[in-house]
């Protein structure tokens, strides 16, 4: 089984305001009133929405970042079933991954909001959006692709006394609507380039699948599959192209360093790497999606076994294991590696490490199994982070830190030091995007 998807890329080289939204040859013209009209049906709990534009090269910081979306629109679906990109969010949840999708390239729609701190959510202290920061210059810009993309920043303010679930839902749907509207401007236009993603097997090459374990622990810490939270899914086999078309959407806002933005779900670095090698070194058989942070040992073993079973079932000789989250998720990842290896399926995995201030303190890993002999490091999250002052801040004006110890609110542009990289968007590098790593000296 395989799927074929054509992606057409429309680069955004500049964004300007104008009387109405349009896309022409790299120039994206936006009209904010038009975008607010598009967003309105999904803004029952939003009191205010306004826009900013970040452009690459600015000495800036983006704060209060929630999710970041790849604007995309499905223009051809097989058999004209209908549905569309990001199935289950705004579009009907028909299966995606084939046909043609148009993407605005080098451009993102980014949600920023200082969501209420005292909002009760599913699990008291656990699940509130901690302040997420993107620094666009210096060493830390390497954590995300968004220092080098034009980002349309959607600033949200919400009404008091509504639920976390209502805020979460409105912010997601209204920004998806805006992203779809902007991507829709490319329909009928000529793309700058096209890429075909086709994982038809080639004889004689080893089968490899990507295991992708995502967080789902309640509102503000969910991942959606075809529109539904993955709370109690069994490991589920997807075609890689389903990921590319947005079958998985990130709703995980709790831990900035660990959460995987939707933009990364649909432009998965490891997926792209495996596709590059498909038909050359390997057969990219699929993506096994599972929930990480399984809630008990009983669930963890059940999940790890099923993942390995699926890998075996689809004739994989190798697995790459990726997870979203901290220590709890690492246990699931390691158990999965163990289950795979014991079945004769070779595994490699990637994880951030600890090590204290310079690598020599304590342990590097919170959990491991003897079978985990092929680990790539995504850097240490435990090193101090020193953010230099910047000229401009987007998404807000004041940082919001240390809720548990009474709150600390430095100026958004000021220099700030952290004990770990917990506040850096994608700092844990769990998707493998970043070239930041921990070099052993």
């Amino acid at each position: 089984m395989s799927m074929k998807l054509t992606r057409r890329y429309y680069p955004v080289r500049e964004v300007e305001e104008g009387d109405k939204c349009s896309y022409n040859d790299g120039l994206l013209t936006v009209n904010y009133d038009e975008l607010i009209e598009v967003a309105k049906p999904h803004c029952k709990n939003i009191s205010k929405l306004w826009f900013e534009v970040y452009r690459p090269g600015e000495n800036a910081r983006i704060i209060h970042v929630l999710d970041t979306i790849q604007p995309m629109i499905k223009v051809e679906t097989p058999l004209d079933w209908g549905g569309g990109e990001y199935p289950g969010i705004l579009n009907y949840p028909y299966t995606v991954g084939s046909g043609v999708s148009n993407l605005l390239d080098g451009f993102s729609v980014m949600q920023c909001s200082a969501l209420p701190w005292d909002e009760s959510s599913a699990s008291s202290g656990l699940l509130y959006p901690r302040d997420a920061i993107i620094q666009t210059t210096g060493f830390y810009k390497n954590y995300t692709p968004f220092a080098d993309t034009i980002n349309l920043i959607l600033n949200f303010e919400v009404y008091d006394d509504k639920s976390a679930s209502e805020y979460d839902n409105d912010i997601r749907k209204s920004s998806m609507a805006i992203a779809e509207h902007l991507a829709g401007l490319t329909v009928g236009k000529k793309a700058a380039r096209e890429e075909v993603f086709d994982n038809t097997p080639v004889e004689g090459l080893p089968g490899v699948a990507l295991v992708w374990m995502c967080q789902n622990q309640g509102v503000y810490a969910n991942t959606l599959l075809y529109g539904e939270p993955i709370d109690d899914i069994v490991p589920t086999l997807l075609e890689p192209n389903e990921m590319l078309d947005g079958a998985v959407v990130g709703g995980n806002l709790a831990w900035p360093t660990f959460k995987i933005p939707t933009w990364i779900h649909v432009n998965g670095p490891i997926i792209m790497e495996l596709y590059k090698r498909h038909g050359v070194d390997l057969n990219f058989r699929g993506v096994i999606l599972a929930r990480s942070h399984q809630p008990s040992n009983w669930h963890k073993d059940r999940c790890a076994q099923l993942i390995a079973k699926i890998a075996d079932q689809i004739d994989c000789q190798g697995l790459i294991i990726q997870w979203e989250g901290g220590g709890n998720a690492a246990i699931d990842g390691m158990l999965t590696a163990q289950n795979a290896e014991r079945r004769g399926i070779k595994a490699s995995l990637l994880t951030f490490e600890f090590g204290g201030k310079d690598g020599t303190e304590g342990q590097l890993l919170v959990d491991d199994v003897a079978e985990a002999d092929a680990i790539v490091t995504t850097g240490s999250w435990e090193r101090p982070v020193y953010l230099e002052a910047v000229e401009k801040v987007y998404g807000g004006t004041t940082l919001r830190l240390d809720r548990e110890s009474g709150g600390f609110f430095p100026e958004g542009t000021s220099a700030v030091d952290f004990r770990t990289n917990v506040h850096m968007y994608m700092g844990g590098n769990q998707s493998g995007y970043s070239r930041i790593t921990a070099h052993a000296y």
Binding site: L126, G326, T351, G359, E382, Y441
Partner: protein, 350 residues
């Protein structure tokens, strides 16, 4: 450009004075390269040369009395040579030679402040003694691999002499010291994890980037004989605190703990909460005894199963708590208990 100057320490064998039978021979200083030194010079070409070779028998130098006698002479020789770098070895997997190399390197480094480097096979017993104090180039296991071992030895010595920064251990081929620095690599982690799997699948060599944990075992405490005579205490890492977290214990990477008196009348959800952010705290917020089962312990006390219960609990939050810090906190908690006559502890963890 003037040639840089190196001084090389060898044992009696590599200096050409004989084998095991000459291991007792004393210190000798030659004003030229010998043994592996010649190979090193061949690699350095015009950039650096060995101006002195210092050698001693492995048995000789490893006797403390002898070492004390000759160490000043060694230091003087290196100082007079105006060396830009000092080398010792390669010692391969030879333990006595490795210890000698490590020791003289440390001596020169301490007394003269010039850069030093030795060369050994990673399982040489001397590695554990000198890692972190002396730079150790990676060598093969036996002298049969001399030609494979010299390039990295020479390369490191030259970098040190020139004052150049070292590359990561895998690149410059020295034994990892445990120091790990976040830096930008040539390739993304995504690229590397796929490349590593392919090597594994194709039976090609690959090296994990993260060594697995080495647990330092804490010996089990001896079994207690008579619990009915002992005072018991409570510790939790579930982040249980009085409402409002008065001691501002950090939710993650905690670096402190709190000590909180228990009053049975107020040990309930109205006065306590958990600030741990790594698990669903609903159940424990409903009832703090799901972390600190105080009344159950009092029941055991009443029935004489245990002697008494300390009327307080110690608490911290166990997410992402640095291991070194955890050891410190644990030791401090243990001391507080000991000072209070507590000799057994129930610890709950989430």
């Amino acid at each position: 450009m003037k040639k840089l100057k190196a001084v090389l320490y060898l044992n009696q064998f590599y200096a050409g004075r004989g084998g095991e039978d000459m291991a007792h021979s004393g210190l000798e200083i030659d004003a030229e390269a010998k043994g592996p030194g010649i190979g090193l010079q061949g690699i350095w070409k015009d950039e650096m040369e060995i101006v002195k070779t210092i050698s001693a028998g492995d048995n000789f130098i490893n006797l403390d009395a002898n070492y004390e006698l000759v160490k000043d002479e060694i230091v003087a020789a290196v100082r007079d040579a105006e060396a830009d770098v000092f080398l010792a070895g390669p010692a391969f997997n030879a333990g006595r030679y490795g210890v000698a190399c490590g020791r003289v390197c440390e001596l020169v480094s301490t007394e003269l402040g010039i850069p030093v480097v030795t060369s050994m096979f990673p399982t040489n017993p001397a590695v554990e003694m000198f890692l972190g104090k002396v730079l150790i180039a990676v060598s093969t296991e036996t002298a049969g691999g001399m030609r494979k071992s010299l390039p990295q030895f020479a390369g490191l010595a030259l970098k040190l002499a020139k004052g150049e920064a070292l590359a990561p251990a895998k690149v410059d081929q020295y034994i990892e010291t445990g120091i790990r620095i976040n830096e930008v690599d040539e390739h993304s982690a995504a690229y590397r994890v796929v490349a590593m799997l392919l090597n594994k699948l194709n039976d090609q060599p690959y090296a994990t980037e993260v060594p697995l944990r080495k647990e330092k075992q804490v010996a089990a405490a001896a079994a207690i004989k008579d619990a009915s005579k002992l005072k018991f205490g409570f510790v939790t890492t579930g982040g249980l605190v009085p409402k409002g977290n008065p001691d501002k214990i950090k939710m993650y990477a905690a670096d402190s703990y709190g000590s909180y008196e228990i009053d049975v009348d107020t040990f309930n959800k109205n006065y306590y909460e958990s600030i741990h952010g790594g698990y669903d705290t609903t159940a424990v917020n409903e009832d703090p005894q799901r972390l600190v089962p105080y009344t159950a312990a009092k029941d055991l006390e009443k029935r004489g199963i245990i002697g008494s219960v300390a009327p307080y609990f110690l608490s911290t939050s166990g997410i992402g708590t640095n291991v070194g810090m955890s050891q410190q906190l644990g030791a401090a908690m243990a001391q507080q208990f000991l000072d209070d006559g507590v000799q057994a502890v129930f610890l709950t963890s989430t």
